[in-house]
């Protein structure tokens, strides 16, 4: 059974189909890159997987469990972690507290009223802190971090939860060249250990990390394959890469 099976998913926003009969299978431990022009439906697809948008057709299976149109927090508990395009962290809390919240082993309000904050997934937090290069920043307020560090913090929060599938929406957006390089190292580090779906525009970045690529166009699958296939695919060139080929 594949880690994630998307079977003919679609959503109709009052006549406009942002995602239309889209199917994709992602194997355990795979890193899949989602490519596509603005408006191709990449983020909407992420929204459909994570429960933000309710689908009007099709199914989404996490291993063999049907998670189609569940509430967001239930999908998250089932093991789908999502990092947003615009980094969202808890700005008034410290970096450590951000990780702690992510690491809580239960989510109900009454269970958490009875729990002190000592010793929450301490090993896991340390491991993740090293992975996302935030050593020495644990006591800093999250709001005081740089843009790149904020992106890593959010990625780290998702990682603390050790989700079955990680959705990354443009993880290198707004980063400097060095930060982008570091991010690609982090993602390469995760390869094989986690199942990842990455939405990305930056072709240089995609070359760094990609194994298999799915290209979206007008809400549908346009092409699927390894990077060479995609770069040489005429339909992709016409629809997305266009003038002058891949940058």
């Amino acid at each position: 059974m594949a880690a994630l099976t998307i079977d003919g998913i679609g959503v109709d926003f009052g006549g406009f189909k942002a995602v239309d009969n889209f199917s994709m299978t992602v194997e355990e431990g795979e890193l899949r890159v989602l490519l596509g022009a603005n408006g191709a439906g990449k983020t909407t697809l992420m929204d459909l997987i994570s429960g933000k948008t309710k689908s009007t057709e099709g199914r989404i299976l996490l291993h063999d469990r049907d998670i189609t149109n569940w509430q967001e927090h239930k999908i998250a508990r089932e093991g789908v972690g999502r990092k947003f395009q615009i980094p969202t962290v808890f700005r008034e809390l410290t970096v450590r507290e951000n990780f702690e919240v992510a690491g809580f082993n239960h989510h109900g309000v009454l269970l958490n009223v009875g729990s002190r904050r000592k010793k929450i997934a301490a090993d896991r937090i340390e491991e993740v802190t090293n992975l996302v290069n935030l050593r020495g920043k644990l006591s800093d307020r999250a709001g005081s971090l740089s843009h790149g560090e904020t992106q890593w913090l959010e990625l780290g929060m998702v990682l603390v939860q050790n989700p079955k599938i990680i959705l990354l929406d443009e993880p290198s957006a707004g980063m400097t060249v060095q930060e982008t390089l570091k991010t690609s190292q982090i993602i390469n580090d995760l390869k094989g250990r986690h199942t990842l779906i990455v939405v990305e525009h930056d072709m240089a970045f995609v070359r760094e990390i990609a194994e298999k690529i799915t290209v979206m166009h007008l809400g549908k699958v346009l092409a699927e394959g390894v990077i060479q296939d995609i770069e040489n695919n005429q339909a992709v060139k016409d629809a997305y890469l266009g003038r002058g080929g891949i940058g």
């Binding site: 994570s50 509430q71 967001e72 927090h73 239930k74 998250a76 508990r77 972690g81 999502r82 947003f84 969202t88 962290v89 808890f90 700005r91 008034e92 809390l93 507290e97 951000n98 702690e100 919240v101 992510a102 809580f104 989510h107 109900g108 309000v109 009454l110 958490n112 009223v113 009875g114 729990s115 002190r116 904050r117 929450i120 959010e154 929060m157 939860q161």
Partner: protein
């Protein structure tokens, strides 16, 4: 424990000790006044919890304060000597006679169409029980409507504001049940285990001061639990919290109810100290005033908001009674608010926080050479 946390605990301890030492310095008239201000301090705690920690700006906190107040006041009204002198074997509130159905029996069962609702309030424990339960039930219903729909920000403020005005109108209109505009006055004393709490005694003051200490410590504990941390996460980014697997609305509803419980408890204590319950508790100005107290004291600090409420009331009382300022005191208080909001956006607690940071920062620098662990 970090130095800063130790200082915070010290601040709580000092505050509680000072409130308990007040009877050494003040006469009974002022003690009763301060008791009322401590009740307002408790409202500051409730506002800080919902606004500062949860990011829920509730402009209708007076609804919960009023609900708690009216419930206990109903019991104390029936315990009043005048209620026993209405020509019946059982107590009947005087205002019900003025609203009586023609030819009806002078008894709670049937003197007015709705007077039977008062029957269980003959037991004081029922008044206390309802004073705690009713605010929570109202908050639970209101919270479910607001937070399950993912309403946030200014819209929460508008809905809570409209709700408190609606209930105020109902309280005034249901004259036969609530005595309308006049509220419930001429109350008996609160009795606990055979002891009568005369509002103008030091015992009543201690009852209020001890209640405030318990509420402060319990609320401070609550926000230090995991649930408290999740609550602050929701305030900073509800969506992020949701995608970490937390049911955001259940946290918001829970803390909205806790905040209502504190406000309801404050309402009951106010009735004990002030001996009346009135629809003015549900006036818009009162609910907004509470928010101003918390803003001046510092909404992100429970203790700060509490001290803010007490301080402003003490200043108001002294300034308004100083002959020189009798005409101008409201302008002076208004100016004070404007200055605080302009120059101390995080209130007095924010100022205290910055000062300790600076002092601790200085101390840290001088220690920098020494090898240090945490």
């Amino acid at each position: 424990m970090s130095t800063k946390k130790k200082l915070e605990f010290l601040a709580y301890a000092i505050f509680i000790v000072i409130t308990f030492m007040m009877p050494l310095f003040l006469d009974i008239f002022w003690l009763n006044r301060i008791a009322k201000y401590l009740v307002f301090g408790m409202l500051g705690v409730a506002i800080s919890l919902s606004w500062g920690y949860a990011g829920i700006l509730n402009l209708g906190q007076g609804l919960f304060f009023g609900a708690g107040a009216y419930m206990l006041a109903a019991s104390l009204k029936l315990a009043s000597p005048t209620s026993l002198q209405q020509g019946s074997d059982t107590p009947v509130p005087d205002f019900m006679l003025w609203n009586a159905e023609p030819g009806s029996l002078t008894d709670l069962c049937c003197i007015t169409k709705v007077s039977f609702l008062w029957i269980p309030f003959q037991a004081q424990w029922f008044g206390i029980f309802m004073g705690l339960v009713l605010p929570v039930v109202l908050a639970f219903i209101l919270g479910n409507i607001i937070f399950r729909q993912r309403i946030s920000g200014v819209f929460v403020a508008i809905i809570t504001l409209a709700t408190v005005l609606l209930f105020r109108l109902l309280m005034i209109d249901f004259q036969p049940l609530t005595n309308g505009f006049n509220g419930l006055t001429d109350l008996g004393w609160f009795t606990l285990a055979g002891f009568e709490f005369d509002p103008y005694t030091v015992q009543t003051y201690y009852l209020v001061a001890a209640s405030l200490a318990v509420v402060l410590v319990a609320t401070r504990w609550l926000v230090s639990t995991r649930a408290g941390l999740v609550l602050q996460s929701i305030r900073d980014d509800a969506n992020r919290t949701r995608y970490l697997g937390f049911d955001v609305s259940s946290y918001q509803i829970f803390f909205f109810c806790v905040s209502a419980l504190i406000a309801g408890f404050a309402g009951m204590l106010y009735v004990i100290a002030a001996e009346f319950a009135s629809p003015t508790f549900m006036d818009l100005t009162f609910s907004i005033t509470m928010v101003v107290w918390a803003a001046v004291g510092g909404r992100s600090s429970l203790l700060g908001a509490c001290i803010g409420a007490i301080l402003i009331n003490v200043i108001e009382a002294t300034v308004s009674e100083t002959e020189l300022f009798v005409e101008a005191w409201q302008a002076i208080i208004g100016l004070l608010f404007v200055l605080v909001v302009l120059f101390l956006p995080r209130g007095l607690a924010g100022l205290a926080n910055d000062i300790t940071d600076r002092l601790l920062g200085g101390a840290k620098k001088s220690q920098q050479d020494a090898p240090s662990g945490e």
